[in-house]
Symmetry: C2
Subunit: 350 residues, 2 copies
Amino acid sequence: MTEHADPVTTPYRPRATLRDVAAMAGVSMKTVSRVVNGEGGVTPQKVDAVRLAISRLDYRPNVSASALRRSSRRTAAIGTVLEDLANPFSSALLRAVEDVANEKRVLILAGSVDEDQQRERALVRAFTERRVDGLIIAPVGEDQGYLRAEMEAGTPLVFVDRQPQGLLADCVLSDNEAGARDAVHRLAEAGHRRIAYLGDLAIIPTAQQRFAGYQRGLLERGLPLDPAHVVHDLHTVDDAARATTALLRSEDAPTALFASQNLVTIGAITALQDLGLEQRVALFGFDDFPMADLLKPRVSVIAQDPAAMGRAAAELLFERLDGERGRPRRILLPTTTVLRGSGEIPPGRP
Amino acid sequence: MTEHADPVTTPYRPRATLRDVAAMAGVSMKTVSRVVNGEGGVTPQKVDAVRLAISRLDYRPNVSASALRRSSRRTAAIGTVLEDLANPFSSALLRAVEDVANEKRVLILAGSVDEDQQRERALVRAFTERRVDGLIIAPVGEDQGYLRAEMEAGTPLVFVDRQPQGLLADCVLSDNEAGARDAVHRLAEAGHRRIAYLGDLAIIPTAQQRFAGYQRGLLERGLPLDPAHVVHDLHTVDDAARATTALLRSEDAPTALFASQNLVTIGAITALQDLGLEQRVALFGFDDFPMADLLKPRVSVIAQDPAAMGRAAAELLFERLDGERGRPRRILLPTTTVLRGSGEIPPGRP
DNA sequence: CGGGCGTCTGACAACCTTGTCAGGGGAGTC
DNA sequence: GACTCCCCTGACAAGGTTGTCAGACGCCCG
């Protein structure tokens, strides 16, 4: 009477194969295959015998072996290459992909690239060596041409968040430029004329687009672009906090801040709180974050919808897998402007 | 001169196989295999010929076919079954697993179960049908006995966050009870005698442990357990906010709150802010969250370390894969008490 | 010059599954 | 009773790879 399996003493029992099931049921392997795949053309008695053997042996079909032999050669798995599985943007996106894939009974291989081009290639290679049916990629490199071979081999590709370079393929993007532009407009409407830009690494395409939106917003409002109010290459909370502090202590300090990314926004808030200026300096962030409406003041943001991006990307991918052969499609998802308070603070005295 | 590959016109070029490489290089398939796997025993000229053919054909070894044939039968992939890939706890844990797996050049299949027992089983089944080398599971069901067959088939299992039922296996847990107990002690030290418990679904083992810790904390401080101050089964921010509001409006309202989980903590904060009581009612949360130290007051929490859990789980798993045959191990990770302010508010007037 | 040894190579089987095809058996037709 | 037709079943090959083994080749020894 062993209540619990004990790995020390548990006998090793190799997994049953189709052959074992066939032997136990007294039929040929093909007949077992027919039952497993619901092909029909098997007498009820044999079906029962096979079913019984399957449950007695706890048989699990070997999907790899099956995919190898099947004419479609589908593995029912897709690869997802994202920036960092631990960050809220990537993980919300991944989860949405999972939900769509789940309906199709497709599994997900996932990996993080951490802004590393090498890692992007390594992951793609590892995934294709496993013959995934398709790939969803948030590209980091400057050139995705190396993926052409994958497309030619029939593996559909969908890019998310950033456009691929040197390759035409389906992609799903946020309208970064329009979002950033709108943030600047809102700040201008509140009366600000000195709006600073706090940006992520300038090599990141989305950061470039947000910066372009910032510039366009200023231009459209007839506001000058002051180089002293532009900071690039902030990639951590601390970077952002330091840069914000420096800006606000400078001569001719800005009266409003546009933070081009999640962590930058948080850094800016940290700095504002440290300086006791959070109620005096306006702040608009790009990317929503969980606690934004519990802070004081509540934080106004340009929100992306990572789940919608993931869903859209997965749907494009599955359409390709279902045979869609049209030209590459580009889905541009609008951002949402969420006014919560911090972006509506008017300019105060110097 | 086509700058870009165009899926409309791109010719379909099936993936090259070992056979193709062998044909192009004018050697046998086995020789190609030797080169690919660095087996040696091949003359330099042939190695070069093979290398050339490989790069010309852009050959990618088929890992599934290889695993099928290899005596170790390793697929270099592990499955990770977590609560919800989008929540910060799961995603931090997953990321840590990924980092360990990455060093071993092992890929990750991931899926969410959403507290659904069926889904747990379906995912495990799907993963084992792909013959993953091992599984990391945050179990939801009341019985994991169904996994015994996997262990017997030689697939190592490591459980995280929650202990498996009906099965002895490696697991990595947070010391939930000690953490909750400590929160109660801290609140008691601040002078509170009416400390409410706001808990997640009572069927969740970790919630039970935290409740046990709460009870023990009260007992050790000689405080009464008031059933009117205990609320279970709060699973969303809204649930938690409503329950908190009701508690604080009741006769004999508590002067301190212990929120047993992330979302519950956030709901409690929302309610406190709505009632304007955030500076008067003490609050301790279980699980840290990103903005906890930007809120006012800053939120004191019992912090778990999901990354450490993921790392530990992955390490246990890889030790098993490296041949470790000892008894099941149980790693209990301590929690950290983070005092930020909200937990140190003294009891005020009614 | 036959034999032995070590190195390198390729033919072939095997892994687990599915697709093809032909054969066996029973029912129905003339 | 001979024939066709259909249904069911199993033998066999194939998918991409690796492991086994025997053979080829060059070399040295007696």
